[in-house]
Subunit: 387 residues, 2 copies
């Protein structure tokens, strides 16, 4: 049997449904409808209402972050996280080449320039060793801040991203941040429910972002959140994301350029119901990942991506990686699986290969370029096993 | 009886409820819950689902615009409208000083500088005569584009705003736009259901924005839309607001810096239900405005703001205006009405008086500054009369 037929067979051993299986479908097993109905019945669907506060408290409790601020989506959350970390127009921000385009876009919204770095094979996250060598060559410290000697620009933040919910090597990257005096901002969009050495992803940087888009582990329709342990930053975040209006019984005064990034109450209502079921959803996804691990073990040249030792992945997107040399098989696997009604997809096009970011500064990108040709996501929703 | 007591009395003659009456509460008299439930039952709460398309079609049908694109909110809609009109970093954009801060913020997001203009007493909208005189003095035409001679910057757009849903003098402003070669972009955030000479507000500029925030005539929780008659602009708008992803069966390729501004399906579901009831909501608000007109007619020095001849207002926020000389009464009226459980509020602080915009170029602002001290919004929701 050729590899693509073997992959289809492995999927069929895990997924019993006869209908089309999407990559990731949300499940609504709890109070989603009840809380939404409450919003409509009380007319509190928008910026006033209790669910936003409740959702923020649930997120803070669950992640262990001191504060969580709910916003319209993960892109807005990362935009805010960068601003809170002090990123200014004309700065550079280090991001992985292997990420969803929102990471790079958020840097552009802040007026900054993505500085694109390579990833490593084990976690698909930023390669700390390669980055260390690169920064040693091209940066210098000026008044305690890191500058790119080639471009003259300040490097204002480093944005690791936990790919598909697999925690990357946080300790190694924190060491790089410390060595070069660069604040860490985590793009934890894909990582609700993922833990690195017992601590929730997004709790290592100064500030982090989460996403609750429809394809994420839990969803609010559209939504995101900022996490931080710094009360001043959290208060500032709330202020900027709600048009920077200063409190007054009736006057409309705003003291800086703000945004309308607040999550509406009706979306937060969904979020509260989803948070109540997060553990059950994670357990279902973990069972799925275990079944996939067993099913793919038998296929020569294919590795099912599992959590590193000491870490817990949410197994947001289940992922198989082809051995080097098998690049030519990728498209036939994609064709065969999608043809058999199992939705699968390759990695994102790496950021340095997109036209708007192709002239950005970067490291050697050989690992990202190789992974692009060898990584495939397979159906991952909690509905496959059930909640 | 002093004026504030008379105002409280007039309100009590129109509003029979004994409980606290907010300025504007949404009403959900139709399929709001049914459509929301359908989203949850089918799991289509996010970027996939039929309600976004349906809501866009309903908006286009209702307004008569060729295309409508639904987005996360009115601020995002105006940001996109400015980009679509060709506003670039370093340009100036003419906006009224009397507007909600989002109008000025959206200009800043596009990297442009607000150029703040005065309003006129009849509609509270931009004063075309004053603006014409101002532009005659400070601008010159270079290669068919308007430049501010003082700052050297291009004036890339003029953004009239229909204050509280009262249509402003569109013809006079279109003449100014034509005379000085400045494209018009309408901030019609407050104007769904308002018509100028039979044509819906937002259909006069190259592109326009609407808002469906919780305090608007109809709501989607959070939401907005872009209106345009230009298919190419509409397609581009859809592309930019959905991360600029190029269509492909599985590849993730994006050809420009895009945004995640798409309205989630669950919010659009609310929007579809609200659009079905828009006529009923407008009729209820019109009845309220008529009752207010009668009740306030008897009070010396107070004008209830009504639609200009040939125009139809949605009467989004009902508004009373004190005669010049009565400025000192404003705060006692606000105190008395809010104290009597009728929520009222003054105008926004004019844009040129906010710290982040105080150094922006501007016209004389004497009318805006005078109106700021004399305008009061009174309870306006469709729930007061009922739907
Ligand atoms: C890595 C990453 N960053 C940012 C985002 C943006 O989140 P959202 O889609 O909620 O804007 C996503 C998800 O789409 C993501 O996967
Ligand atoms: C004049 C004006 N412009 C823009 C907006 C922004 O709309 P939204 O609140 O939906 O972002 C609003 C309403 O809040 C508004 O009144």
């Amino acid at each position: 049997m050729d590899t693509s037929a073997q992959v289809v067979k492995a999927l069929s051993q895990v997924i019993f449904s006869k209908r089309y299986t999407p990559l990731h479908e949300p499940v609504f097993p709890g109070n989603e409808l009840a809380y939404t109905k409450e919003c409509i019945d009380t007319t509190f669907v928008s910026s006033v209402g209790k669910f936003v506060d409740q959702f923020e408290n649930m997120l803070a409790d669950y992640t262990g972050a001191k504060r969580a601020i709910a916003v319209t989506n993960g892109t807005a959350a990362l935009h805010m996280a960068l601003i809170l970390a002090g990123v200014k127009s004309g700065d550079e921000v280090i991001i992985p080449g292997l990420t969803f385009v929102a990471t790079a876009n958020a840097v552009a919204y802040a007026g900054a320039i993505p500085h694109i770095a390579d990833s490593e094979e084990t976690t698909l996250g930023l390669d700390a060793v390669k980055l260390d060598m690169h920064l040693s060559k091209i940066t210098e410290l000026r008044n305690g801040e890191c500058f790119n000697k080639d471009t003259g620009r300040r490097i204002a933040a480093l944005v690791p991203m936990h790919v598909f919910g697999i925690p990357l090597d946080v300790d190694a990257l924190l060491a790089v941040c410390e060595k070069f005096s660069i604040p860490m901002v985590e793009d934890a969009a894909e990582a609700i429910g993922s833990f690195y050495k017992g601590k929730h992803c997004g709790r290592f940087g100064k500030v982090a972002s989460l996403s609750f888009n429809g394809n994420k582990t839990i969803t609010t329709g559209g939504g995101g959140a900022i996490l931080t342990d710094d009360d001043d930053l959290a208060d500032l975040c709330k202020h900027i994301t709600t048009t920077a209006k200063t409190p007054h019984k009736w006057e409309y005064f705003h003291d800086m350029v703000g945004y309308n990034y607040r999550m509406p109450n009706i979306n937060a209502a969904l979020g509260c119901a989803q948070m109540e079921k997060l553990d059950a959803i994670l357990a279902s996804k973990r069972t799925l990942a275990e079944k996939y691990t067993a099913a793919f073990k038998r296929i020569e040249g294919i590795r099912f991506l599992t959590e590193p030792d000491g870490c817990k992945s949410n197994y947001w997107f289940c992922t198989i990686i082809l051995k080097k040399g098998m690049e030519a098989e990728r498209d036939s696997i994609l064709e065969a699986t999608n043809g058999a009604a199992y939705m699968t997809r390759p990695l994102w096009t790496a950021m340095h290969r997109l036209p708007m970011f192709e002239n950005c500064p970067r490291t050697d990108m050989s690992v990202a370029e190789s992974l692009e040709k060898r990584v495939i996501n397979i159906p991952s929703g909690a509905g496959i096993i059930g909640v």
